[in-house]
């Protein structure tokens, strides 16, 4: 499964990058979201996959059974998800405002002002 997920992560990154390179702010954001999914899955996969047993200590035990999933990667992903959401929300509204201001979805229209 890890291999399959590795390929999936690659596809998510590729799709995200491809969308970011399009001449559309909307697609740019879509791309960012896909990148975020890719990154989350990447941490998840790289940290080691364990099927089924969540990292919750059963009522009758005092320590986590050995077969459980790695709680640390999950905590990291949770943090990354929430941070990603904050960033995404801001980016969405920013792009929205840019659209309102420039009346265009094309990032090429924003090139003035760089030099």
């Amino acid at each position: 499964m890890a291999t399959l997920l590795a390929i999936l992560i690659g596809v998510l990154y590729a799709a995200g990058v491809y969308l970011m390179l399009r001449r559309s702010l909307f697609k740019l954001i879509l791309g960012l979201v896909l990148l975020a999914h890719g990154a989350n899955l990447l941490i998840f996969t790289a940290g080691g996959l364990t099927r089924a047993q969540p990292p919750i200590i059963p009522p009758d035990a005092t320590a986590l059974p050995v077969s459980s999933a790695d709680p640390l990667t999950q905590a990291l992903i949770l943090t990354a998800i929430v941070i990603g959401f904050s960033v995404l929300a801001f980016a969405l509204v920013l792009f929205h405002r840019v659209y309102q201001t420039s009346g265009s979805d094309d990032p090429d229209e924003l090139k003035v002002g760089d030099r």
């Binding site: 990154a39 990447l42 943090t79 801001f90 980016a91 840019v98 003035v112 002002g113 760089d114 030099r115």
Partner: protein, 506 residues
């Protein structure tokens, strides 16, 4: 001791929280901003003193032993950076009192500034890789908002590029951390350093190091990853530009130096050569970019890039010499350069704001006559400008001198030549601003404005303070360089860092 390590995070967060709670009471927010940044500075100085006397200090948050919890570590380098964050925070907070417009103030400017400072300090102090990612995001999010705050079209255009490229950097960073954890099973930097030293064939890890190099390189605005910086830094209000210019890219540089002195050192011949090449290209492209500009803040923005090159030049040199003395000198040069640069560059942005107030524009074409009109501002510009160009006896001279000495010592003559020529071109850019904005007669139709006494105080006080620091760092370069040298010694002594964080190996 625990307290001192935590204060640089707690103080800004507390200030930000109270400012949030005092959302509609601007008078309180303003006072809080000054008091909070002053306290941050005080805390930073106390921390620096502690590290100076006691060596590297660390605290395990939540009392969980490293590497399991999160460790905050302060060596001289981090402590110096925290102090600088305090200095810049305070200067910009005071400057904002007179320069920030009320709408922005009423929409969270002050709490965001504090959050930015918190993120910056967190990045300097953390000893944990994922935590570093979090602080990067804190800093980044605050900077996104500050950059776009006000929603002027220019700001929005700049913000899009800034946000997109920085998010790409974050995605790279996050992926790299994830992979690193997958491979090593740890996130603590000291633990990573120890585990990676035991790896026999470092090649794969070098490839991973490249991801970090790129992720931090984007934040540090090195060639060819700097585009977001000139696209955005001239768009927000000056106070925001100034704090960005002083601190943000330096966090990237800090991370590069930290990672490539502590963790990825096994393949230095390869990685540090690369860093050296990047340093040279960064210096050259940045300064050429500046030469093509005719707007005050854009010139300054491109110069940031160029000077980032100098900062990582020391890092590159340090890895390419067999002599510990030269390695230390090179890193000390980098640290000293960062100290010098943060103060000088922030100050120049602050000056640009006053020039804009007086002359009504940032365009050099539309400015003029400041030499005649305002001798005080003239001096306050000349000091940081000449320092930036590396003129003795100001801070920039000694910064450049140390790097050049290290470069000659390491027999990297090409990069030394580049550094020197770029220094000349920097001087060229500064004289451009000088000749146009100060010497040239003011254009006939330019609006002449004067400053009220309160504005004068709040605008010129921080500028004067920073200028005084520039002069002091130059004239009293020895004690300041001693700080940098101690920082460099600690950076080269990885074992001390690892021992402090993890304790003695059992």
């Amino acid at each position: 001791m625990n307290l001192l390590l935590v204060l640089p995070l707690v103080i800004p967060l507390l200030t930000a929280t109270f400012s949030l709670l005092a959302w509609r009471r601007l008078a309180i927010q303003r006072k809080l901003a000054v008091v909070g940044t002053a306290a941050l500075l005080g805390g930073g100085v106390a921390l620096l003193t502690l590290v100076w006397t006691r060596g590297i200090v660390a605290t395990q948050l939540g009392a969980w032993p490293a590497p399991f919890g999160i460790t905050l570590v302060a060596d001289m380098f981090s402590a110096i950076m925290v102090v600088l964050a305090g200095v810049i925070g305070l200067a910009v907070a005071v400057y904002s009192l007179a320069s920030m417009d009320e709408p922005r103030e009423s929409f969270g400017y002050y709490p965001l500034l504090q959050i930015l400072l918190m993120g910056v300090c967190g990045a300097f102090l953390t000893g944990d890789f994922f935590n570093l990612y979090v602080w990067f995001e804190v800093m980044l999010m605050a900077s996104f908002v500050l950059l776009a705050l006000g929603g002027e079209p220019d700001q929005l255009r700049g913000a899009i590029k800034y946000v997109t490229l920085n998010l790409l950097a974050s995605a790279l960073f996050l992926a790299a951390v994830g992979i690193l954890y997958g491979v090593t099973g740890t996130l603590n930097m000291a633990d990573l350093a120890r585990k990676l030293s035991a790896v026999a064939e470092p090649g794969t890890m070098t490839a991973l190091a490249m991801l970090f190099l790129m992720a931090f390189g984007i934040k540090a605005a090195v060639f060819p990853l700097f585009f977001w910086l000139p696209a955005s830094y001239h768009t927000p209000p000056v106070a925001v530009s100034a704090v960005f210019a002083g601190l943000l890219t330096k966090v990237g540089v800090y991370a590069l130096i930290r990672v490539f002195t502590l963790i990825f050192v096994a393949d230095a011949g390869y990685t540090h050569t690369l860093i050296l090449v990047i340093a040279g290209l960064t210096m050259v492209t940045g300064v050429l970019g500046a030469a093509a500009q005719h707007e005050f803040r854009r010139i300054l923005s491109f110069h940031i890039i160029s000077q980032i090159g100098y900062m990582i030049l020391g890092l590159g040199l340090a890895g390419l010499t067999d002599s510990p003395a030269i390695s230390t000198l090179a890193l000390a040069g980098s640290v000293f350069y960062i100290m010098h640069h943060i103060i000088v560059k922030t100050n120049l942005f602050l000056v640009s704001g006053v020039a804009q107030r007086l002359g009504g524009s940032f365009e050099l074409k539309e400015l003029g006559g400041l030499y005649r009109a305002d001798p005080g501002l003239t001096v306050l510009f000349l000091i940081p400008a000449l320092s930036l160009a590396g003129m003795p006896p100001l801070s920039g001279f000694f910064a450049k001198l140390s790097l050049v000495q290290a470069g000659l010592g390491a027999e990297q003559y090409v990069i030394v030549a580049v550094a020197l020529v770029v220094g000349l071109l920097t001087l060229f850019s500064m004289t451009k601003i000088w000749a146009e904005a100060f010497w040239k007669a003011a254009p006939a139709d330019s609006p002449r404005q004067t400053l009220s006494a309160a504005e004068k105080r709040n605008l010129l006080l921080p500028i004067g303070m920073l200028a005084a620091m520039t002069v002091t760092i130059g004239l009293a370069a020895e004690p300041v360089f001693a700080l940098a040298t101690r920082a460099a010694e600690q950076l080269t002594d990885r074992d001390a860092y690892i021992r402090t964080v993890l304790g003695e190996p059992q």
